[in-house]
């Protein structure tokens, strides 16, 4: 028997007044996946995450976590879902350990969870801050407490809503390593981000949402190959006037030192381009291949729906 999907989203619609925030979003995330949810600001990523967490009630459609409907079986669904919100929200009345303890309590967990809280504090490098008030923590530490709160009830599915927004490079790397470890430990990870580098680094499969619609859903490799353009740039020391007529329409940039010619490899093969250059007797000083990255694919896919 195949295991149920970690997350299933079926034809979900949500309107806020005249804004159609989600327009029939429909996809599933399998257990154990590292899934990226990408989209420009206002695309509907957070609305979708919030619908999964029960903070937004969709107008129609169905969302399930580990097979449990988030509306009719909300207790079971929420026990299996950990959410790290985008904003650094915390209760200023409490200390770090208290924050984690109460969060575990809301899930009905008693003393048995204390060793896990100790382990979490250790894993999140918060042991020496466990007695500190949340107000006194740095932004990075608060972010780690939020991750701890999402993990305190040991959910199989963890959703991180832009966890590295506004954090410095070092902390971003630390958070990536932590999230990778969670994935290795068997958690299904759903990561929303608008740092495409982050999705490229971490995710196996990526969905791109734009204006409330799913515009792409594929593995990272297939997404990068989709409509990808490769361009061969050739730098020559020949002045423009000495270039044969066959190459003049390939001139991209001219300086005092070189002339840059660019060839689309979607139209010409590499061999054909090199033969053309050799036959023209052009002196080549440098060659560079430019390939679309996820950012280009993202821009291309989201441009048309805006």
């Amino acid at each position: 028997m195949t295991p149920c999907p970690a997350v299933s989203i079926e034809n979900v619609h949500k309107r806020f007044g005249t804004v159609h925030a989600l327009r029939g979003v429909d996809f599933t995330i399998q257990q154990g996946e590292f899934f990226g949810l990408l989209g420009p600001n206002g695309a509907g990523k957070s609305t979708l995450i919030n619908a999964l967490a029960g903070l937004v009630r969709p107008d129609s459609g169905q969302l399930k976590v580990m097979g449990f409907d988030v509306a009719s079986e909300y207790r079971d669904a929420r026990r299996r879902l950990g959410v790290v919100p985008q904003e650094l929200v915390y209760d200023p009345f409490f200390e770090v350990r208290e924050t984690l303890r109460f969060q575990a309590g809301y899930f009905g967990l008693g003393k048995e969870v204390d060793p896990w809280i100790d382990e979490l504090l250790h894993e999140l490098n918060l042991v020496d801050k466990s007695g500190a008030n949340m107000r006194s923590l740095s932004g990075g530490m608060k972010r780690r407490v939020l991750i701890g709160q999402a993990l305190v009830h040991k959910p199989p599915v963890v959703v991180l809503d832009e966890p590295t927004a506004g954090v410095d490079v070092e902390l971003r790397r630390q958070l990536w390593s932590l999230i990778k470890r969670l994935h290795r430990d068997g958690h299904t990870i759903v990561l929303t981000t608008h740092y495409l580098e982050e999705a490229e680094e971490l995710c196996d499969r990526i969905a791109i949402i734009s204006c409330g619609e799913l515009v792409a859903l594929d593995t990272k490799a297939d997404l990068l190959n989709r409509g990808i353009s490769k361009t061969l740039h050739i730098y020559t020391s020949e002045p423009v006037r000495d270039l044969p007529a066959a190459l003049t329409d390939k001139i991209k940039h001219v300086t005092e030192d070189y002339t840059e010619l660019s060839f689309s490899l979607n139209e010409d093969s590499v061999m054909h381009v090199l033969d053309t250059i050799r036959n023209a007797g052009v002196h080549v000083i440098d060659i560079r291949v430019e390939e679309d990255d996820l950012e280009d694919v993202f821009v291309q896919l989201t441009r048309d729906t805006r």
Binding site: A53, E98, Y106
Partner: protein, 251 residues
């Protein structure tokens, strides 16, 4: 413990951490009222036969504090969590809307009764206040604090900013509690104001509560008890339906 009990416990710890502000300050304020009003009016005003004005004042001040602190606890905690955004950590848990309601109202009751008991204990050292029925005193204190705890939830859900909550407190709770017979019997009011007072549920809370001390009241205690019960049931139904609908919490 269940999620409900943890949420209730969290609310208790929250107000316990600022006990100077949430418990001690209202006790001192009520005692200052008692000292000033009793000094000025003792011997000049006689509301009930054989009951001195200072003794008359004690139950009213206690109930006024119960009302104000019952409201303040649920409303301030909830509005702060809502505005700062940390309420999501409660909303994403398996806690149901009924458990959510029960936890916030129960915490309001505990804070209101703690403040009320504190005032009573200190007042007993200063004034001879009889106790006619401990059961009625406890019943009215419980009902009053529960009603205000529920009202605090509604106000906090409605308020988008702290000043909207302050407006609710200053323009609804304060006038209704001051104009409910804390400092006087409604029989001393002109007829129009007497009639108007009868539409104020806080009046029945205070009048019934006072009956628990002296065995005398402006209206029969059964009516006061019924009004308080009906108010609690009605307000709880409204609060529960607001929470069930997710108004302003689950969009």
């Amino acid at each position: 413990m269940t999620g409900l009990l943890w949420l209730f416990w969290k609310e208790l710890v929250r107000f316990g951490k600022v006990a100077f502000q949430t418990v001690l300050a209202p006790i001192i304020t009520a005692l200052l009222y008692l000292l000033v009003f009793s000094h000025v009016l003792e011997g000049r005003v006689n509301v009930y036969e054989d009951v001195g004005y200072t003794a008359f004042l004690v139950p009213g001040l206690i109930m006024m504090s119960v009302i104000q602190n019952g409201f303040a606890n649920s409303s301030s905690s909830l509005v702060q969590s809502k505005i700062t955004g940390n309420l999501v950590f409660v909303l994403i848990t398996p806690i149901s809307y009924i458990e959510f309601f029960a936890a916030y109202v129960a915490a309001s009751i505990v804070r209101a009764l703690t403040v009320g008991s504190g005032i009573l204990l200190v007042a007993k050292l200063l004034v001879d206040v009889p106790i006619h029925s401990f059961f009625l005193i406890a019943a009215f204190a419980f009902l009053g604090s529960a009603v205000l705890g529920a009202l605090g939830i509604i106000a906090a859900i409605w308020a988008e900013k702290y000043d909207q909550l302050a407006a609710f407190q200053n323009f609804v709770i304060m006038p209704l509690s001051f104009l409910s017979g804390v400092f006087y019997s409604i029989h001393s009011l002109p007829e129009f104001w007497q009639a108007l007072s009868r539409f104020n549920p806080f009046f029945y809370m205070i009048d019934g509560f006072r009956y628990g001390f002296f065995g005398v009241s402006d209206v029969p205690v059964v009516i006061s008890l019924s009004v308080c019960l009906i108010t609690l049931v009605a307000l709880s139904a409204v609060t529960l339906s607001v929470l069930r609908a997710g108004y302003k919490l689950r969009i």
